[in-house]
Symmetry: C2
Subunit: 497 residues, 2 copies
């Protein structure tokens, strides 16, 4: 097989969504199936939780007046421990997916509600889950997608909270704290920055608010993924780095394609170069996902997985580097199956899926193609992936083809302040040392009230999850400190005249 052309390489460029990374080629393969994913059932959770579901009428357009339509935003409310009147409200700023899934995966809020006497509110992000501005037409074209922006989502949150305060007896003087993880964490931070009148502070967990053009090196994300593998087993990263060439070699013949398909138990056998590219993207995403969910205990966030799953994966990849391509890929397939078939119930591996159906992939791709421009690149040296540069123009062209829109590279930095956010206050940025998204996170204190909490042994927003006996001390300390800040913010408000 010939060296890939620049365009072909671009076509595999990573389009990272906050909880997942996909190659753009993969996206195209997925696109047609995606809409049907919405509204999937949440995974089961560690502790039974109960909440009330309400539907709040939101303006479709907060920033213009020609579109006067409204839609039903889904809200989950839990007031069991709320200290009326004036007890705090912990407000989860919903991400790119079904809010029940985030609700079930944010055990931290459920665990501290009683201590704080807090009401919990989980607000679904427009265009995800059940909160579809135009129902089944919401994703039909760029006109219908026009109101899918972070600014509109923040305005939804603001209007909702103002309304809750007006209508919920006892809530009028309740201090509200925004909480979010990943993209939801970015929203929590931005919410405090843009609406300090509405929320007294924010916990932005694993929120890569600096993963935008010109703010951090585009290669840092994949470097962290690589480091996670490097430290989880001897030669683990080196063998993955070699696997791409092995795949190229083996897939160059028809029999090789067949062998690969069987070895990886693929549901749809590889047939051509395009399939192989999608396959490699899928594999790359698999390693990225593992880095995000490298939790110290058995968990089911993106997939059901064992404790420290990368260590388990690396058991298959710790061999010497002199093995044959076939042997190497056999082991890679064993490793991949840790991720895809830990329960042993998977009959075949589907390269069009890498994680839970509760995330709204298509919506996030649109957001990445408009505001959420997050450059990613690999060099194959400091990371274990095939080299791929960041090419904004090609990305923009692809967005134009997919959605009929073009990304605005500088807008997020302009509207959300980029690195110049020191004048804001009361935001905690927590990051996990294992989490590739910490590459774009705030990992140092900016001021006394814009603080960073690092969790060296933490993967993606570990602090927001339910506590666990196997939690490292750093995450326990992080959660305790977070609660302390919450209490401090609440006290500040109660003191104010």
């Amino acid at each position: 097989m010939k060296p890939e052309s620049r365009t072909a390489v671009w076509d595999r460029a990573a389009l990272c969504i906050l909880t997942l990374c996909f190659s753009s080629l993969h996206v195209i393969a997925l696109k047609s199936q995606l809409f049907t994913r919405f509204g999937g059932l949440p995974y089961s959770t560690e502790t039974p939780i109960t909440y009330e579901t309400i539907y709040f009428d939101q303006k479709i357009d907060h920033f213009g007046f020609a579109e006067e339509g409204t839609f039903k935003q889904r809200i989950l409310l839990a007031a069991k421990y709320w200290q009326q009147s004036g007890g705090p409200i912990l407000f989860y700023t919903g991400n790119e997916g079904d809010i029940t899934w985030f609700c079930n995966n944010t055990g931290f809020m459920w665990e501290i509600a009683e201590e704080l006497g807090a009401m919990l509110v989980f607000a679904e992000h427009r265009y995800y889950g059940e909160s579809l501005p135009f129902g089944q037409e919401s994703y039909s074209d760029s006109k219908h997608l026009n109101y899918l922006t972070s600014e509109q989502a923040l305005a939804d949150f603001a209007v909702l909270i103002q309304n809750l305060k007006r209508t919920l007896p006892g809530a009028q003087h309740s201090p509200v704290i925004a909480v979010g993880g990943s993209y939801g964490g970015m929203l929590a931070a931005w919410f405090r920055m843009k609406y300090p009148n509405i929320v007294v502070g924010a916990l932005a967990s694993s929120a890569p608010i600096w993963q935008f053009p010109g703010m951090v090196p585009c290669g840092d994300f994949y470097k962290i993924v690589t480091q996670d593998f490097a430290k989880s087993g001897h030669n683990c990263d080196a063998n993955i780095r070699k696997s791409w060439k092995a795949i190229n070699n083996v897939s160059s013949t028809a029999s090789g394609l067949q062998w690969l398909s069987e070895e990886f138990s693929l549901c749809n056998p590889l047939k051509n170069t395009l399939d192989v590219m999608v396959f490699k993207s899928w594999l790359q995403e698999t390693w990225v996902n593992l880095a995000m969910v490298d939790y110290p205990y058995k968990a089911n966030f993106l997939q059901p997985l064992p404790p420290w799953p990368i260590q388990v994966v690396c058991k298959y990849l710790g061999f010497d580097s002199t093995v044959s391509d076939h042997q190497l890929l056999h082991n890679v397939s064993q490793a991949a199956k840790v991720y895809y078939n830990y329960t042993g119930s998977t009959s075949c591996l589907n390269t069009s899926q890498t994680a839970t159906r509760s995330l709204g992939f298509l919506g996030w791709f649109y957001q990445a193609c408009t505001e959420m421009v997050m450059p990613m690149c690999t060099d194959g040296v400091q990371d274990m992936f095939e080299p791929e540069e960041w090419n904004f123009q090609a990305f923009s062209d692809e967005c134009n083809t997919m959605f009929g829109v073009r990304p605005r590279a500088d807008w997020a930095g302009t509207v959300y302040g980029g690195k110049d956010i020191a004048s804001h206050s009361n935001i905690i940025f927590s990051n996990g040392g294992l989490d590739p998204w910490s590459s774009g996170g705030v990992t140092f204190n900016i001021t006394d009230s814009l603080v960073s909490i690092m969790i060296p042994e933490g993967a993606h927003h570990l602090d927001l999850r339910y506590s666990n006996d196997r939690d490292p001390p750093s995450v326990r300390a992080a959660r305790a400190l977070e609660v302390k800040y919450f209490q401090q913010w609440i006290k500040q408000v109660k003191k104010a005249p």
Copy 2:
């Protein structure tokens, strides 16, 4: 004539635009003529000033991606005194009108440029002056008007400044200070609140950021107008208060209508009840305008006027209250002519015009009918006007008829923080004690860096005007203090790492 019905009273309810107040009836009378007003020539100015005019490509929609069009935003640039590199930029956040008019009427900036080594930038607000997103179609319907919002205007300013910093050699590290008066002052304050990454501070002169529902009493505005007249001449307010009934009495006969028309030298004689209502609205607006431009020296802001024009007006209205209706109205007409015919060159008075053509009335009416909902009311007791309640529903219906949109009463408070703005920093709110708009202004210090400067003898943004020998000491002190704050903000930035 019968007592006016509720609806009729509503129809005369004041729709205040930032530099002027109009009754909604008046608006309807004006509407058809308004578009042609754009692009009027600026008035002559005290000092010859020179600037470069540039046209900057702005996105029509910053908050959505379906509309990819751009328009030319007009920018005035003056770099004569700019200390490259890194010298500060004073950025005027353009209001509802032709930017050259504001540029010519903001002598303060021109006078301090040299001292600060500052570049001056005056940015025209979209939909006003030459900055029309859809050219002559911009006001054609609610679809075209959809992008006329303060949020879009602020985004224009932010994107423009980021671009200037990238492209103007020496500007990269220039601290930018927002300056604005009236609606422009609101924008300056909001600009600092929403984009503290772009501007280090803001001077918001005569900016009624609290003139929104639920924030200040709706009657305060007209109370201040009344106080201005009360203290400018014995019986002056009382006689104006009586004049409305006198007009009703006199206009109840055909001969009375004719007499009134002649007495006031009206270009278009009054013919019916509707004309009389428009006439009363026009007269009310005349008194309001006088309150806004009650400057201590001869000036030509809304109209050419003598020093302390209300004192001159009140010379005609200082008589005893026992005079006949006809005598009273004769004197009122003399008083009105101080405003409309100070130069003696006006052949007749036109009730469809009260001030300069450089303001974009129709645009502001649209803004008032969408975001800028500013309740106004009168009771005829604490003020000198006919009683009129604030009726949001009727206002909303009228907006719907005029523009096909409905105002959102709570939005401005939600998005710009209302009274909860203490977490922001580096904003000066200056207000004149004579200015009716101080009713909605910030007239006390909120924090050490959200400060109020009061100018007791000042009318509408007197501090932003050229200095004058007749300036009261309070405005001289205000300007000196403003410059001191500017220097402090600039120093803060230079100190920052």
